[in-house]
């Protein structure tokens, strides 16, 4: 097993970067072998680009279905060395520094931010005043429907649960009103932006 030498440069040297490019890309992971209950999702921004990741609570990060394991160590001069492993012997080391509110990666300032993913609710307003339709934020399977037509709901109430990317996503009401239509049933496969539930403002009825 090849192990790269201890990081001695701030930037990946050109020849090393060339070798990395010639490697086969990291394989997609089998999500079934992971403990899904422990996976937590985060929204990340790095240099203006946004991406959603899943963190296993230990050392694994899943991005676009690929697993990146990491080990972080602190060097004696205050830098952090993040070692990212994408396969046997495939290690990449990055030098990270925190100073004065700024983050430096490989000696360069970067813009990096993350927060737990919030359920991304999309809704469309129908032509009728005060009626909103909640859309599926991502493709998946409806595993549970918590409301029925005629129920009154408050903002934050769970409407239904959508399993997507092996994760349970609670779809919450972001509008107060009465359920006037349910477009889906349990175990139904839905696509992105498919209509799920219609809520009408009670004042209008």
């Amino acid at each position: 097993m090849m192990v790269d030498e201890i990081l001695s440069s701030s930037v990946t040297p050109i020849k090393k970067s060339m070798r990395f490019q010639e490697r086969k890309p990291a394989k997609k992971v089998d999500m079934d072998n992971l403990d899904k209950n422990k996976l937590k999702s985060y929204d990340i921004t790095l240099n203006g680009r946004k991406v959603q990741i899943f963190y296993d609570g230990k050392d694994g990060v899943i991005i676009n279905g690929k697993l990146y394991r990491g080990k972080v160590s602190e060097s004696n001069n205050g830098y952090y060395i993040s070692e990212v492993i994408v396969g046997p012997g495939k290690k990449h080391q990055y030098r990270i520094e925190y100073h004065d509110g700024k983050i430096y990666l490989e000696g360069r300032e970067v813009e990096f931010d993350f927060q737990p993913s919030l359920p991304k609710l999309k809704r469309i307003k129908s032509s009728k005043h005060g009626t909103f339709t909640i859309l599926a934020p991502l493709p998946g399977v409806i595993t549970e429907i918590n409301v029925k037509v005629g129920d009154s709901v408050n903002i934050g109430d769970t409407l239904l649960t959508l399993e997507a990317m092996k994760m349970q996503n609670d779809i919450l009401a972001d509008y107060q009103g009465k359920i006037t239509k349910i477009f889906v049933k349990e175990r139904e496969q839905v696509i992105s932006n498919q209509k799920l539930v219609q809520i009408s403002s009670e004042n209008d009825n």
Binding site: V11, T12, I14, S17, M18, F20, Q21, E22, P25, A26, K40, Y42, I44, L46, N47, G48, R49, V51, I53, Y55, G57, D59, V61, I63, N64, K66, Y68, G70, K71, V72, Y80, S82, E83, V84, V86, H92, Y94, I96, Y98, H99, D100, G101, K102, I103, L105, E106, G107, R108, E109, V110, E111, F112, D113, F114, Q115, P116
Partner: protein
Amino acid sequence: MIERLLIANRGEIAVRIIRAARTLEMETVAVYSEQDRYGFHTRLADHSVSLGSGPAIDNYLNIHKMIEVAKDQEVDAIHPGYGFLSESTEFAKAVINEGFKWVGPNPEAISKLGDKLQSRKVASKVGVPITPGCEEALDSNKDALRIAREIGYPVMIKAAYGGGGMGMQVVRSEDNLIRAIKNTKRQAKAAFGRSDVFIEKFVEKPRHIEIQFIADKKGHIVHMGERECSIQRRNQKLIEEAPSPVITDEMREYIGNKVKELGKSVGYVNAGTAEFLFKDGEFYFNEVNARLQVEHPVTEMVTGKDIVIEQLKIASDRRLSWKQEDIQMNGHAIELRINAEDPISNFMPSFGKIKALRIPGGMGVRFDTHIYEGYVIPSDYDSLLGKLIVWGEDRSQVIYRSYYALSEFVLTGIAINTPMHRVILANKQFHKGNLSTSFIEDNNIIPYIEEAFNRRVAGLFLAGLQTTKVVLPNEFTSSKWKQVGKYENSGMLI
């Protein structure tokens, strides 16, 4: 000599022209749309004048307004830059008719090069190698089938009045020919107002090679060697270099002389570029760009000659400063176009405020740009933020220097395309000089950029968790990263 110059453009090229004009101690007048009120060129110029708000057609493309400003400001010359009005013969004629000096090619020469079919004819007359194809616009389907059979498939159907990578269709077999002609005619009619089309041999995976030339009003002309611009995506150039790794001195002299003959035959004045496709040692003439080009700096770096200064001198009726033997290639130069677009998301453009900006430096490193820290990129214009232009003694040195110059470059606030440049500069085929216009697809550049991005995200995320010692998950709902500085300053947590 011109005393007061109007720069009818914006962005990095307006800045570039102002710098050249200043060197010649000309007064400069900039124009701006209201969206560009705080553009760098408005501050750099001696005077700047608003062209009002709205789309470009109401300001940067408005011939009437531009001429009014020129009169009002009592300038004696106008430089159009590239894009916008630079290739409008109507504007060039209006400028000249109103008694201003036009810093660009004479409208007569441009109309002689005219459309793509006509420039093919002019080129072939002086012996410039052209792509095999038809001489006239296609008349009948029978002719089309015969010509296509003669030159052999695949062929390209091209709109005679097309441009910008539009109005072109590749046909790989006879079954699709007639339908493709019909489609291209319809598109050409809609986009360019005229439906004339012609057939050319389609050159597969060619290199893009172009020859810079410049001529004065007294009949002197020099070529300034080639630039290779093969690294493209959807016909948009991304990386340019000079000289090309595959062009020998003999080839340069041969094609350079042909281009000079072409320029002379139409009485061309000022700077221009003849574009060619290049495959297996053969040049195939494409078109003449009758203007200053984005990538002109790579030629400047290897020849040591300032093309924009020379343009201004020629427009001032001066004699060309150089003879052909004064133009020598010294070393190698690369230009990386820094664009506000995300290569991983299909080059989606990004807009917004530039937060941090650190521009690299050192021997042979030049950055032509109009951006600054706090600059807000308007969504109205193209995504070019600047050009990192690097010189080296040879191709290998300039690649290494570019890679490490780029590694110093910081720009935060918006997504930009530097990760793509970084990957290409460390690509083995790029080092070997194995380039073609489909380089990015053929070498899987985009998937690797994403892979490298993901690794860094993972590295930063895991380091971030460790650093602030925040217990995960669900301990926080808003970003903690903004507080890193606070923790540090108060001596807590870190």
